[in-house]
């Protein structure tokens, strides 16, 4: 995870929170959160290589498919659920969003913005777009449901998800006048605190 993005996420998570990170990768974020915020964190991941990264990092992890398991995490008293750059890889992102808000009081969601001008330019050239956030070729990508900032916020509106905080970042991981004024065009990534 990008350093600036990481700082934002860490900042939003309260001390000693019980946290679940859906799509936790090698557990790097949970490890930092445990060190800096004394959280009790669990990762959910389905990639054996990344799971071994978690075990090496000493981060508790559960090998499961997010689409299938998310509803089972409801009665676990989580304070915060994180889904960092994972939502676009899910088979049923809407279902996951409905469930994640029942898993924890607050959720931190980060997503790559498919509306970013670089990606639009790629499409205009007649090619499947790629960027720092979306580097994989179309035939290799794990992304199933890409969306733009407008799309995502529309879903939040429809489902009455309360966006408490949001930060838009450009492809250098920085917030600027441009990303804040025209996020759907200039933001490469969006970070939300939903509750």
């Amino acid at each position: 995870m990008d350093k600036i993005l990481q700082t934002i996420v860490i900042d939003w998570i309260p001390d000693k929170a019980k946290v679940v990170d859906f799509g936790c990768g090698d557990g790097a974020l949970l490890k930092i959160l445990a060190e800096e915020k004394s959280i009790l964190g669990y990762g959910v991941e389905n990639d054996p290589v990344k799971i071994n990264g978690c075990i090496k990092n000493g981060v508790p992890v559960i090998q499961q498919d997010i689409d299938e398991c998310i509803q089972h995490y409801r009665d676990m008293d989580f304070d915060v659920a994180i889904m960092a750059s994972s939502i676009q890889c899910l088979k049923k992102p809407r279902n996951a969003m409905q469930n994640i808000l029942k898993v924890a009081n607050e959720c931190v969601i980060t997503l790559p913005n498919f509306g970013n001008w670089e990606l639009r330019a790629g499409l205009l050239r007649g090619k499947m777009p790629s960027s720092v956030q979306l580097p994989a070729k179309w035939y290799e990508t794990k992304n199933l449901h890409l969306c733009t900032i407008v799309d995502f916020e529309e879903l939040c509106n429809e489902e009455s998800f309360n966006i408490k905080k949001k930060v838009y970042l450009n492809n250098k991981g920085a917030s600027s006048w441009l990303t804040n004024t025209f996020p759907n065009l200039f933001a490469a990534e969006a970070v939300y605190l939903i509750g």
Partner: protein, 366 residues
Amino acid sequence: MNVVSKKILFNEPLTLGSGEMLPGFELMTETYGELNQEKSNAVLVCHAFSGNHHAAGIKEENAKPGWWDELIGDGKTIDTEKYFIVSLNNIGGCHGSTGPTSISPKTEQAFGAGFPEVSVSDWVETQKLLADHLEIDCWEMVVGGSLGGMQALQWAISYPDKIKKAAIIAASSKISTQNIALNEVAREIIKKDECFHNGDYLSHGETPSKGLKAARMLGHITYLSESNMSKRFGRKLQDPLTKMDADINYEVENYLQYKGEQFAKTFDANSYILMTKAMDSFDPAKNFDHDLVKCLKSIQAKLLIASFDSDWLFPKEYGLDIQMSAIKAGIDSTYIELNGEYGHDSFLFYSNDYSVALKNFLNSNG
């Protein structure tokens, strides 16, 4: 690898969970590697139902390597150059530790069917006495598969501050109705052997080896996966020259006959019954209002729970059940599902993912 085999005598009487008492007992042990000066590199390996203390290395010429030799050794998953590994035969067993074939000091005859009922908790108590004897205050890890995994879990519950990590492999917090049913069929087969004599076969100078063999044949099927059996034997016919029995048609029949017979030569029928009973009764949550979450709350050790996808005897739901309760209890616990070719028996064999996960877990810090 430094291998030391030792029988250790414990003179103090041991009160078992059932209330019965053993006046004293012996544990047959094997250790691998060296205990460091701080005594902080000790790993306890708990054996499964029919296992024993011989977990690694080859002791005598032509003798078989230990049951976990693929994972324990110099430079292996559980590295004997780094860790001091302790393995033992549990009481009630039949490989050197006090069990039904041992002589009762009271009657001066073999305990036989009179050997008291033992439980997973009783085993953990004896293992704790062994740790004290070896002056090991805290295990770096307690690990086991199947019934051995249950011991690892019980350790974490019984002695929260005496164990840093517990690896619970192909195990559960209690076995299913189907498991109990299968165990009962096996026990019935043994008891109905005409040589069983209500468990007092030793005083009759006989052994119920036919029953023991058939029980093992049934058990063996449950330890393998359907696909592994198909791949290994298919419907291949047995070579007539190597048939165990004239009635045999298929290779799989011959295999089970052979395995059953070998087992019956080395295992004791009363131990079989006793061990399966211990497996049936394992349910640590029963002392916590049948609430597994409550039961796990006091655990301080890190847990690694691993299931194998082809295991239908202890399917992944059992492991996940412990994991979900562990999360509710707020303890440090990881759950992984491994690819295993061999069904329940997968826990015995090396595979890269299995080895990497176990090694990373053992070597990880707090």
